[in-house]
Symmetry: C2
Subunit: 253 residues, 2 copies
């Protein structure tokens, strides 16, 4: 019996991939993953059997990885952290149902939300909510309910999958919900292609983004500030977003 | 003028530290951080000026890092991801107020929640809430409000700082709030010292943990399952927690 590694490959560049993840890829005979993420790891894939799968094929990919792991060392590569909108859950569902004695080892990685946050200053800093606006696997009513409660929490919110061809209006609906109980001047950070070619960051406000969200695409992560978040400036130059942790409540500095 | 790197050192082991973080530590003349995290990176600190600071000294540490960065290359090391309950926000507050033209570069890392999740199966998988039960910097009433809303969201919840000597009862109060609207049989995963010496994982339920939470200490991360989370078993053997992503709503498999 082989081993099935579920390897989190981080936001893109191999500079953000952990040594443990690299080692698992090096030890594996077979590498399987979404072509988009595998292409960024090209230098690690030489002399390997590589199975490039496509978006939307996650169930088949999970089953194939389990089948191969019966007699191979398999690395299932998943972008960001595999346990957050990644392949970990569907692979374990397969193991649970069809491959119960398969050995599986999970390796964590840098998830897109904290990668994006690092490019924006410190917009998250502490308590926060992580939501996806994709209604492919979660009914939209549930997403709306979660958005409403998250808005009331007053914490920063990291939004994955803010927009895609199939659902161009979800972001506008989400921003409308936010504006029912958040200050329109709440800072919002947008990072496109974080740690990948073509990386872009933008800092705006809920109000401005609700007027025009053309800047957001399917490769973007959004961070909506919390009630205490502010735009960080040097003179008139916008440098990022700061959400204070609360030291000002305890110390004079 | 020097550079100030804010380096996320991940959950502990250098096997979970990114190459970008390692490179920043290698380039720095001065390394400053909480002794607990620096001690785990000992092999990277040879021939460096190392400033070991203590818990509770974050404001002083941030100011000292900024002062040193005027004419040194400084790496401020912060455990997990520096942008999540780490040093990023207080360092940037200092830069904003007192050192406005200081160059700062942030490097993300593996945050404790996803590190812990990887040891428990796939308990987070998608939408989730991240909260800390420490009321040192956030008033307890705000934490309670957030817990109540998070419980209603029905998503998994990652709890940082679930217990400490100074606030041994916060966890019991938090579990009581959870039980007002979550099934008592909701799975709960506990990871102590994730990716560090003495790592332990435990899988229990809200009901059991509310009866006795002695197992939780200040080095633990808790993951409370969502409405769809289940305990993953092989026969009677508990293997982890699975929160399905929702493929079962779209596909037959």
């Amino acid at each position: 019996m082989g081993i099935l590694w579920i390897v989190s490959s981080g936001p893109g560049s191999t500079q953000q991939l952990t040594p443990a993840a690299m080692k698992a890829i090096a030890l594996a005979d077979v590498i399987i993953g979404n072509a988009f993420y595998l292409d960024m790891l090209e230098q690690l894939l030489k002399n390997k059997q590589v199975i490039r799968s496509a978006m939307g094929k996650e169930v088949d990919r999970a089953r194939e990885a389990c089948r191969l792991a019966k007699d191979h060392t398999v690395a299932m590569v998943s972008g960001g952290d595999a346990g957050v909108y990644g392949m970990a859950s569907i692979v374990l569902e397969m193991v649970e149902r069809e491959f119960p004695s398969q050995e599986v080892i999970m390796l964590p990685g840098v998830t897109a939300a904290t990668a994006a946050a690092s490019r924006l200053g410190s917009p998250i800093s502490g308590d926060h909510v992580t939501l996806s606006l994709s209604d492919l696997l979660t009914p939209w009513e549930i997403i709306e309910k979660r958005l409403g409660l998250a808005a009331q929490m007053g914490t920063p919110i990291a939004l994955y999958n803010p927009k895609s061809r199939g659902r161009p209006l979800n972001l506008a609906k989400a921003l409308k919900i936010m504006l029912t109980c958040r200050d329109p001047e709440t800072p919002v950070g947008i990072v496109k292609n974080v740690f990948r070619e073509g990386e872009e960051t933008h800092i705006t406000t809920l109000r401005e983004l609700a007027e025009n969200d053309d800047i957001v695409d399917m490769h973007s992560i959004l961070i909506i500030g919390g009630e205490e978040s502010r735009i960080w400036k040097e003179d008139e130059d916008v440098k990022g977003i700061i959400t204070p942790r609360g030291y000002h409540r305890k110390y004079v500095y």
